[in-house]
């Protein structure tokens, strides 16, 4: 049982990370901040509980998914705590709900194979969620992608993503000839048009990424992929010509300083924060994360890098890569076609989200506002990430 010993060492290292981060927050305030230690203990208890359940009752499943999410949650919640304590407390509640959902899925869900036949249910749910914000949405941060029912607000496209992957997995699992691809293509196109209509280009990019990856995995035909990229190029040029906000984003990407007081402000501030952090960062509590706009959700990566350094930023990217590897590994070993495509879809969804937002805040690609999975503040994003990971965890048991 040598492997098990290393796993418990990994658990101990995560505790150490949790207490090192919250320990420095504890030292930050003039009378020491006891709340930070309470938070650290709560988070440690949460992920230990999840780990024990997975380890004891579902030993065939993957043990890394829960460990990596724990590391992300620790980094995310500690950063939020440093910026705004009340938001961090809310985030702990979301993390608890996410973990509960994750474990509930693993414990309660019957075999995933049986869900493959609900193709049209998934299709209808996808279309409902995707069109929801276009029909009754309200605007927030430049994109019309929020829906409010009384006091509860959420982003329907986040839930749409979950059903979108499920629909594509069940539609592509038995595909034999080209005509089988017409219906999924129409649905994908409709989703993309809804996203463009809601001016939510980040999500549009993610939907495109998911669709193209699943198409390639199910058909292994590179002609489709090339065709899709050509269509993407045409779409990108058309939307650049058509929409003012797309032009603005691209111009900011090319030169963030050209419109520093206007559209370029967000990216410019983010770049300055990252640069001022340097290699090792300014130290927790010694940076100026309040100067970064939307520092709690979209730009949380810049806030982390400013205080912990670009080296920690690389660490986070490597950890996301490892999480992606574990998720894809489940897809490689599983035999059932639907489960396989579903795992591919959900892991691509998370990976695309990471690439699009980290690429955006460091100025590598035009910025589109989406959340960094599990690290960013946001209930919808937390729940959907844990939902996707719960399904992948379930799939990994069969692998």
């Amino acid at each position: 049982m040598k492997g098990k010993r290393w796993e418990s060492r990994l658990l101990i290292a995560t505790y150490a990370l949790c207490f090192a981060m919250f320990g420095s927050l504890f030292l930050l305030k003039e009378p020491f901040d006891k709340g930070a230690i309470v938070m650290a203990v709560i988070i440690c208890l949460l992920f230990t509980y999840g780990y024990i359940i997975i380890r004891k009752f579902f030993p065939d499943g993957d043990k890394f998914i829960i460990m990596f999410t724990a590391v992300f949650a620790v980094i995310g919640i500690a950063t939020l705590y440093r910026i705004d304590t009340s938001v961090a407390i809310k985030q702990v509640v979301w993390y608890t709900l996410g973990m509960t959902g994750f474990i509930a899925l693993v414990v309660l869900l019957p075999d995933l194979k049986t869900f493959g036949k609900y193709r049209y249910f998934f299709m209808i749910m996808t279309l409902i969620f995707m069109s929801m914000a276009s029909l009754i949405g309200s605007e927030r941060g430049g994109a019309k992608n929020w829906v409010f029912f009384g006091p509860i607000g959420f982003q329907p496209s986040e839930f749409g993503k979950i059903f979108f992957c499920a629909y594509l997995a069940s539609a592509l699992r038995n595909h034999k000839k080209v005509t089988d691809l017409i219906e999924p293509a129409v649905i994908v196109l409709a989703c993309l048009l809804f996203m463009v209509n809601q001016t939510d280009l980040g999500s549009a990019l993610i939907f495109f990424g998911i669709a193209i990856t699943m198409l390639y995995i199910s058909t292994s035909n590179s002609k489709y992929v090339i065709g899709c990229f050509l269509l993407l190029a045409v779409g990108a040029i058309v939307s650049y010509k058509l929409f003012g906000h797309v032009r603005a984003r691209v111009n900011v990407w090319l030169d963030p300083w050209s419109d520093y007081n206007g559209v370029g402000y967000q990216v410019a501030q983010s770049l300055m924060a990252i640069a001022s952090g340097g290699f090792l960062g300014s130290g927790i509590g010694l940076g100026y994360p309040h100067l970064i706009p939307v520092q709690m959700s979209d730009f949380i990566f810049s806030a982390i890098v400013e205080e912990l350094g670009i080296i920690a930023g690389f660490g986070i990217i490597i950890l996301f890569f490892l999480l992606f590897y574990r998720c894809m590994r489940a897809a490689i070993f599983v035999e059932d076609r639907f489960s396989q495509l579903l795992a591919v879809g959900y892991s691509t969804m998370l990976a695309c989200q990471v690439l699009v937002i980290i690429g955006g805040v460091i100025g590598a690609i035009p910025l589109t506002g989406i959340t960094l999975p599990i690290i960013s503040y946001g209930g919808t994003s937390m729940l959907t990430s844990f939902f996707a990971l719960g399904i992948i965890q379930k799939i990994s048991e069969d692998a």
């Binding site: 290393w6 990994l10 420095s24 065939d60 010694l286 660490g315 490892l322 590897y325």
Partner: protein, 150 residues
């Protein structure tokens, strides 16, 4: 004065903790990679369970390669059927080409019928989908019978 000393100590500790966080992140990455490397190297994913179940052959067709009383350990997926590429080849006229499979999952063992023509019987009941196994259960495929032993 005591408070000042405390604050000095805290100021000293802050940058150290910052670097410590970075070090721990990389330690976590290193450990995760180390476990994954072992997992890739060992190849076979399913590790032997502590209390492995087995199948005891209770009766088989005359002249088949299965002998009465022989034991088949269930330490991975065991496929049963008439075709040669099954793990357990049944020389039974009532068995289908790929008849059933028996496998461990998490802490349990399951038997699953692979849409065989004549069905698989578990304690004289037809198996539909996958059914968990317990010690003492009797599995019947055609005229071949197995008993689950612990």
């Amino acid at each position: 004065m005591a408070g000042d000393i405390n604050m000095d100590f805290a100021d000293l500790l802050k940058p150290i903790l910052g670097v410590l966080v970075i070090v721990i992140i990389y330690v976590i990455i290193f450990m995760a990679l180390r476990i994954m490397y072992k997992d890739v190297k060992s190849g076979d994913k399913k590790k032997a369970l502590k209390k492995a179940y087995g199948l005891e052959v209770v009766s088989a067709v005359e002249g088949s390669n299965l002998k009465r009383g022989s034991i088949i350990p269930i330490n991975r997926v065991i496929t049963l059927g008439r075709r040669e590429d099954n793990l357990v080849v049944l020389n039974d006229p009532y068995a289908s080409g790929y008849h059933a499979k028996i496998y461990p999952k998490n802490t349990e063992y399951f038997v699953e019928d692979l849409n065989s023509t004549n069905g698989t019987l578990l304690n004289d009941e037809f198996v539909e989908g996958k059914v968990p196994l317990e010690i003492g259960d009797e599995i019947r495929i055609g005229v071949t019978r197995f008993r689950v032993i612990g």
